[in-house]
């Protein structure tokens, strides 16, 4: 079991460019979560998928952030027109189902110059 895989581990973009972050959840897990971690805000919920269906995206900044889960083996978080304030570590987690412990990937550190 390789755990949750996130790629890339580091990404540097210029202001206004697009960033796509990838997550491969643990096989057999039906729930996938995305979080953003910053020193100032701590860990923030972004979005949640269950059995590939989007359930809750209430934490997503509406205009530039989007997330998809086209199949059970991966999810993507896309940030359009990145801004310096988007710089953060983006964590993906998966669990058997809601309420169970979540397993986190190593994160993608996004730096927007």
């Amino acid at each position: 079991n390789a755990g949750v895989i996130q790629t890339p581990r580091h990404k540097v973009t210029g202001k206004g460019q697009e960033a796509t972050l990838w997550c491969e959840p643990i096989s057999g897990h039906s729930a996938v979560f995305w979080y953003r971690q910053t020193i100032v805000q701590g860990l923030e919920f972004l979005t949640y998928f269950r059995n590939q269906a989007p359930i809750d995206d209430s934490g997503m900044p509406k205009e530039r952030f989007s997330a998809q889960m086209p199949n059970q083996s991966h999810s993507t978080l896309k940030i359009q027109s990145t801004q310096p304030q988007d710089s953060a570590v983006y964590l993906c987690a998966s669990s058997l189902d809601w309420g169970y412990e979540q397993y986190f990937g190593p994160g993608t550190r996004l730096t927007v110059l």
Binding site: V4, R50, I55, A93, G99
Partner: protein, 114 residues
Amino acid sequence: AQSVTQPDARVTVSEGASLQLRCKYSSSGTPYLFWYVQYPRQGLQLLLKYYSGDPVVQGVNGFEAEFSKSNSSFHLRKASVHWSDSAVYFCVLCPGTGGYKVVFGSGTRLLVSP
């Protein structure tokens, strides 16, 4: 509303000493509770979990935690810390039945001095 409070932002202990990291929670029902550890440039790793039953739960690497409904607490303990335990520790609450949106504590940075 659900909330988790970790009152100690930083804790320093000597290697070999015992450790307690505090966690207080607020929940309308009986929550599920977790402790995670985060090492530099890594994701969160699960240390232990509490769903129900015995209030003292054992985790990895000698960690344990005790759930107290009366005190609304879920403190983490270790009898003898090692320098490799230096990391950030998060107390996490899941609302339980019907809830999926977990609540994270602000984290406690543990430094184990030689």
